[in-house]
Structures are given as C-alpha cells and as structure tokens.
Symmetry: C2
Subunit: 295 residues, 2 copies
C-alpha cells in the first residue's frame, strides 16, 4: 500500500463503498476530511480518525483532492452544484474525482462546469463491490486527462488493485456502464442455467463445480452462483441498484441510437424482482425471479 | 498424460472435436479404432496411426469402450440404433460413452436400450472447444454410475483436465445444457456492452482491459471479447450450433414447465445471425447482430 502520509484528501459519500475506501485512505496515512448527508456516518469516520466537515463545500475548501462516491447522478449533481456545493470553492488546485456511478453525458457537463470555475475533473468509477472496497482490490475505470489521473494515482493505488485509463472525461462512466450490463446479464445467465439444472434433476452445486475452468466460467458464476445455490441473498449489490444501472445503460443506448434487447429484458426482470419486494436483496436474487416464474 | 498403452478404444465421430481427441488418445498409446460417416476423415486418422472401421458396429465389435462425439441427438441415435449401429454387437463388456451434446431425456432412453442389450452407458459431454480438445484441457461433465465413470477415467484423464460426476445418466447433458446457456448469454452480454461502449465513444479494447479482474470478468470476455474487438469470427463454436444448443435448453425447460426469457431472447438473436448469413461464423458474431441493429 502506497503512503499518503501528510496528504489531505477529501471524501464525500460514506455509504457501503465510501466507508471502507475512507478507512483504507486513513490506513495509508492520509489526512482525511469527510462529509455525508446523514451525520451519523460522519461520526463513524471521525472515530476512525477522519476530520468531519459541515458540508461538501467545507470538504472542498480544505482538500485540493476531493473524492465523491455518490449513489446516483442527481446526488452527485447536488454535491457539486447544490446548496453548499463544491463549485463555490473550486480553485486551480482543485481535482474532483467522481468514483460513484453516474451518467456519462452528465459527467461531461459536470466536468465543463468545474473546469469553467478553474478546477479539474475526472471520473473514476469502480467495480468489485464492498469486498473490493474493503480489501483495496477495486478495479478503477478512469476518464479524463492523463496528467490529472497521474496526480490521483497515489490515491487509486491505495483504493484498488487495477487502474485503466479508458479515455477522456465520461469514458470511465461508459466503461462502468458496460461493466454493470455484463454483471446483470451474466447473473441472469447463471440464474437461468442453475434453475433449469435444478428443475431437470441435476445438483446445481455440482453443475457450477463442473463449469469452473470452462467457457462458462466467470466471477459471477463463482460468487453469485454460490449465493444462488445457498440462497443467501444478503447484499452485495442490490437488485434496485442493478435495475438503475440497466436504466443508465438503456438511456445511453437510446442517445446513440442503439437497441439493446438483452439489457432491456434484464431490466424488466429486475423490475419484477423489485415488485416482488426483493429490491433490497443481492442482485443474484434474479435467481428467485426465474425460479418463481413457471411457463 | 496417462498411458493407455495396449488398451483398445473406439471413437465414432471425427469432426472438429473428435479428431484432436483421437490424436490425444493415440499419443497416449491407445489402440484406436475409428469410424466416421464421411470416409476422408477416417483416412486422416488412419494416417495418424488409428485403425479404420467400416461402420459404427464394426468399431463396437472390436472395442469394449466406445466414445461417440456426435453433432446432435439424432446423429447419436443413428450411430447407436440405426443401420449397422452399435446396438447390434453390445455385450457385457461394452461401455458406450457419449461425449457429444445430446438431449438429456433422449440420453436416458438410449441408456436404457443399451443396458437392456447388456451394455453400460454414460454421458460425458465436454466444454472447452477445439482448443481444449487439442490441448487436452477439456472440462468433462459426466452422468452415469460411478463405477462406469471410474472405468472410463484413464481415457478422460487423457482428453481433459477436469472431470465432474454430476449425477445419474442424463445429468452430464443437463450440465452441458447449462454450460451452453451461460456461454450464449454471456456472449450476448459482452456483445451489448462492447457495442454500446464503442458507440458511446470509448475504446472497447480498453473497456475490456479495464473489466478484467472485476465482477464482469469471464472466460467469454477474455476469449470472445477479443474476437469481437478484432472482428475475427473464425469458428470456434458456430452461431448455428449455439442456436441449436439454446433450442435444446428451451425444449428441456418446456418439459419441466419453466420459462427462460433470457435464453429465449438469445435464441432469437442467434436466429437473426443465421438469417443474416452468419450461421457458420463463431458464436461471438452475435456482436454483429447487436452492432447492425439500430433502435
């Protein structure tokens, strides 16, 4: 783990991902200044050694480098441009790093506004879930100028195990959308295969075991396949979040005039999961949608 | 590689999979006796050191252990029970090993008929494609009695790197169906994600690179993702075969009263590929179906 000793880093958004990321930054020696809408999470991080701030703006006032881990595009917009938002104190030294999942077009618009105010902006969403955040093994997909990404590299080295510079601002979010599409659709694939195997009298645990190492092998088969077999749907990533990610993908596809039939169907299946009351369960609970849905 | 020195092994079906499997059996020292409908392929294997037979029956007459690698269920049925079929010479020592892809219910019916004639029957389909067949790294999914599978183990050790005993006769074919579903659906997932990334201005090669090691990682992203990026659709597994595999899955699902919406859609997309004249291309050519299909 690289050392961030003496470096001030801002962190806005202390949810399932932000909290473990913040702990890793503290462990690496950073002077961490944090803000979150619900104050009890600020308290948890202050106890861990961070400095609490009264607003997003207060974070950006003290820290030149500000990481934002927001749950969606509108929350990010509010952090940047809402009341007591980051924009009010942006200066030449400011580097804003969006590590949440946001709309790619909105990313480009947000970046323009931050740059017009004198600051720098990169999008660097992640894959790997809470486990990856805790173990600092996140995959980071970055969009923006190379020199800005290099400036953030010591922080990325602390948070993840893999950094890919995809392209200009927004490209990180495009890669993240692609990532979420593959995750949702592969969960659907494994769900249909394991439900059918079970229904046709084969032990799904043995089927999953047999498929390892072959063409059907994937991280989803390994992790989410296991969750389906044990029917343990504690999240991890939630069905409701996965559904929202598929909507982001379909919105982006519509903008570029592309039909994504698999993604559209996958979104419908996640809507069924939410309607069944499973929106808060792990996204692998798509297994239940397939299993409970006789022809 | 285990030695099969002095052991007589029969092999019926010398296609893209059967030929390299036969070479590995010869390299392990087996006395290999082969048959294929088109005689030029018998000639190729005779040149490599095998003994050619005049019919499927002639193979089963000489070899106690007979491997069949047929392209579909009806071809297998014909090899077993058609004119000059295996059934005519089945005896107590006969072990019939179906390593092709067949219908699970038909497998159970075929096994009963072979057993009624005194022989033994296991299904042991594989995953790993022609590369896996050549490198002897196939994943083998076996259905049948444990002692029959143990008897075939020296042969499986020569042909593959992984053997899982799924359950009774037919269970291997159920696992293979699950495998093919995941393969087809994951190809669809990667195709939609990479086409969208490209259309939205991100370099799909960089996106694929970024996704490695994360939740979206899979053998399909690795192998078929590469084929999509370079647009090299030499098969590998063909679109027409993948379509047939999805039909097998849907037929099995209908028998157990299960609706598989993703599999049904995937089959439709492969039908579009075939209608566009791409049935002979690699199954990763689903990329072309998505790319050529504006909203």
């Amino acid at each position: 783990m690289s050392s961030l000793s003496g470096q001030t880093v801002g962190l806005i958004g202390l949810g399932l991902m932000g909290q473990p990321m913040g702990r890793n930054l503290l462990n690496a020696g950073a002077d961490l200044i944090v803000y979150n809408r619900s104050p009890e999470k600020i308290g948890i991080m202050v106890e861990a050694g961070a400095t609490g701030a009264a607003s997003s703006q207060a974070v950006a006032e003290i820290a030149d480098m500000v990481i934002i881990v927001s749950v969606d595009t509108s929350t990010l917009e509010n952090i940047l441009f809402g009341e007591n938002g980051v924009i009010g104190v942006v200066r030449d030294e400011s580097l804003i790093i969006d590590m949440g999942t946001s709309d790619a077009d909105a990313t480009r618009a947000f970046a323009k506004k931050i740059e017009a105010a004198g600051g720098r902006y990169i999008d660097a969403p992640v894959s790997g879930g809470t486990v990856g955040a805790e173990q600092a093994t996140l995959t980071i997909m970055a969009g923006g100028d190379a020199q800005d990404i290099e400036r953030a590299r010591p922080v990325f080295d602390v948070l993840g195990s893999r950094l890919t510079h995809i392209g200009p601002q927004g490209a990180g979010q495009v890669a993240k959308t692609a990532n979420q599409m593959i995750v949702g659709l592969t969960i659907g694939a494994v769900a249909e295969a394991l439900v059918l195997a079970k229904r046709a009298g084969a032990d799904p645990a043995k089927v999953r075991e047999a498929l390892k190492g072959g063409f059907a092998d994937s991280r989803i088969l390994e992790l989410h396949g296991e969750r389906m077999i044990t029917e343990n749907f504690e999240p991890g990533g939630k069905c409701a979040t996965q559904c929202k990610d598929m909507e982001l993908a379909l919105a982006l596809a519509a903008k570029v005039g592309l039909d994504l039939p698999g993604t559209a169907l996958n979104r419908e299946l996640y809507i069924r999961a939410i309607e069944a009351g499973w929106g808060g369960l792990d996204h692998s609970a798509l297994f239940k949608v397939i299993a409970d849905n006789p022809a």
